[in-house]
Each structure stands twice: as structure tokens, then as C-alpha cells.
Subunit: 192 residues, 2 copies
């Protein structure tokens, strides 16, 4: 099922993929207000008609892009090699400092003011949050049957999100490295 | 100097104050794209001309509002009573979950895409960040001459920001309380 595709299906899939990547890039660069279907189609080198064939409405396109961002983030997390906790913490935090986080942040904030976006983004963020937590627990080899461990991991992901936000207007890399090194130590002690 | 004011000066100051508060409320509710000088003036019950007398441009109005937000946040922090570390952590986190944080977040994200806003918001956020850190160190009675203590407090404020972000689309209160209780324990141990 679906393993064999025609050249036409391949082209259609490639176009769709390019539109999603362009939608993420436009969101990160221009924000929600500056990201229309026309802008994204131009960025992707696709006609407006073709863009609307794949995504009938602006909400469809950007909800699709959020889904895409979410899947990319989860895949990047799952692809992390088995390594020490300090390295895992650094890698987890890194996921919140690139263009994927920037695009998600734009949508998140837009969804807080746009009734059409809000339920879709809320549902998706809850799903992504659960998945990210699950993967983090695994990578950190955290034993959630012990009291406080679940909240310890949740707090780490909240901190990672806050560090991502601190990196939006300025390059916060140097400060972030020192904070991450210190809290990785505290986390390692807490997880035992 | 300035202790004696005329009724006219008082009225002018009250109008200015109402405009700033309305600007924060509009930002939190409608986002940057939906927050024009006209919308704010209407919300404040002030004529558009009077609004423009106080704030000639849209950037002036919202930069003024960010300043106002920043001063309100610092004042709220400084007004915290002397209390145990767990209570201080909860109070610090609370500052990131109300309409003031929501408004600041809207401006922060808008500034990442608007060249006219960016330098002003960046400078202000750096200033507010330093001030918040200074007050947090004092409230937590943290000894920054000990290695790692500075980064421990910074990480806590990053986590508070991340928890604020998690509260924008949904009411995250119940989860946040558990995370804060656990991390207050870890912080208390780390600060000694």
C-alpha cells in the first residue's frame, strides 16, 4: 500500500513538501501577519493555483506547516544517539532555538488572537508536548515511577522553551550554554 | 521639582496612563497586527488626536507600553514580601502568566519581524532582564559569589518564561503548580 508511486504522485508530494517548508520559513521570517498563501507560493516557486490545490485555505496551509514542524521536531528528537544526560539536555534545548521553534512561536502567538487558528494549534501543541515529554523521559533514562521525576522532566522542557524565547531577538548562545551546563548538573543529581 | 502639579497636568498624566494601560490590554487581546493607535484610543475613551499628542507614532505608543509593562513588573517584584524560597519561586513564575506577560510576548514576537520595533524592544528586554535577575537574586537570598549560583537563578527565570508561554493558549495552572513545587525544591537544595 502506497509503496509504489507514479512520477506524477512524486511531483505532487515534492510540491507539497516545498510548500510546507516555505510556510515555515515565511512564518519564521515575516510572522503570521506577513505570511499569506501568495507569499508562500512565491517562496516555493509554485503557482498560487497549485498552492491552493494542496491547501484550500490559509489555515490549512499553516496548520499543515505546524504539523510538519511538529513531526520534524519529534523525528530530530528520536534520531538523537544514546549519550550522557548533559549532552541530551543540550540537544533538547537546541530544538527550541532554530527556525522550527521560531515558526511555531509565531503560530502559537497568532493562535492566541485568531479564533480560526486557536483550536487547531492548541490540539496540536498538546499532542506535540506529550510526544516530546515521552521522548525526553526515554533519552534521559528517567524513572517516572519515582515521585517528582515527571515534574523534573516537564520543568526542563519548560526551561528549554523559555531559552528558545530568549533567543528570538538576540543571539543568546553564550549565556544559554552556561545555564544549560549548570541545570544539566542539577537535573542529573535530581534524576539519580 | 515636580511635586506640585496643576489640574491640567494631572489630567494629562491620567490620559497618558489610560492610553498605556489600553495599549497593553489591546496587545494582549488582539496582538500587534490588531493593535493600532485608533483601536487603543477608542479603548481608552480618548480622541485619536489626544492619543497622537501623547504618542506621535504607533511605535512610540507601544514602546511606551512596553516600558510601562516593564516598570509594572519590576515594581510587582520589588513589592514581594520577604518569604520562603518556595513562595518566592511561585511569585516569580506568577509574573509570567498574566496579561502583562501576554502583551510583552506579542511585542517580543512582533519585534522579531519589524525592523522599527526590534532595537527598542531588544534594548528594553535586556534592561528588564538584568533588573528582574537582580531582584530575584535578592528575594531568593542567593550568593552569586558561589560557582553556578548565577546560572541557577538565570535558568529559573528562563523556566518561568517557558511556563508563561505554555499558559498562553490554555489554562496550564494545575500542571504549572506541580512543576513549580518540584523545581522550587531542586533550587532550594542547589542554593543551599
Amino acid at each position: 500500500m502506497g509503496a509504489v508511486t507514479t512520477p506524477k504522485q512524486d511531483r505532487s508530494r515534492a510540491t507539497r513538501q516545498r510548500l510546507l517548508e516555505s510556510a515555515v520559513a515565511c512564518l519564521a521570517e515575516h510572522g503570521w501577519a506577513g505570511s499569506t498563501v501568495t507569499v508562500v507560493a512565491e517562496h516555493a516557486g509554485v503557482s498560487r493555483g497549485a498552492a491552493q490545490h494542496h491547501f484550500p485555505t490559509r489555515e490549512d496551509l499553516f496548520t499543515g506547516a505546524v504539523e510538519y514542524v511538529a513531526e520534524e521536531r519529534s523525528a530530530a528528537l528520536r534520531a538523537l544517539p544514546v549519550q550522557g544526560r548533559t549532552a541530551v539536555v543540550a540537544a533538547l534545548v537546541d530544538l527550541y532555538t532554530g527556525p522550527l521553534f521560531r515558526a511555531a512561536l509565531q503560530l502559537w502567538v497568532a493562535a492566541s488572537n485568531e479564533a480560526q487558528l486557536r483550536p487547531r494549534v492548541t490540539e496540536l501543541e498538546a499532542r506535540v508536548g506529550r510526544e516530546t515529554h515521552r521522548i525526553a523521559v526515554e533519552l534521559l533514562r528517567a524513572d517516572e515511577t519515582r515521585p517528582g521525576v515527571r515534574e523534573t522532566v516537564q520543568g526542563l522542557l519548560d526551561m528549554a522553551r523559555g531559552l528558545g524565547l530568549a533567543n528570538v531577538l538576540t543571539d543568546d548562545t553564550a549565556r544559554r550554554r552556561r545555564v544549560v551546563a549548570q541545570w544539566a548538573r542539577l537535573l542529573d543529581e535530581a534524576l539519580g
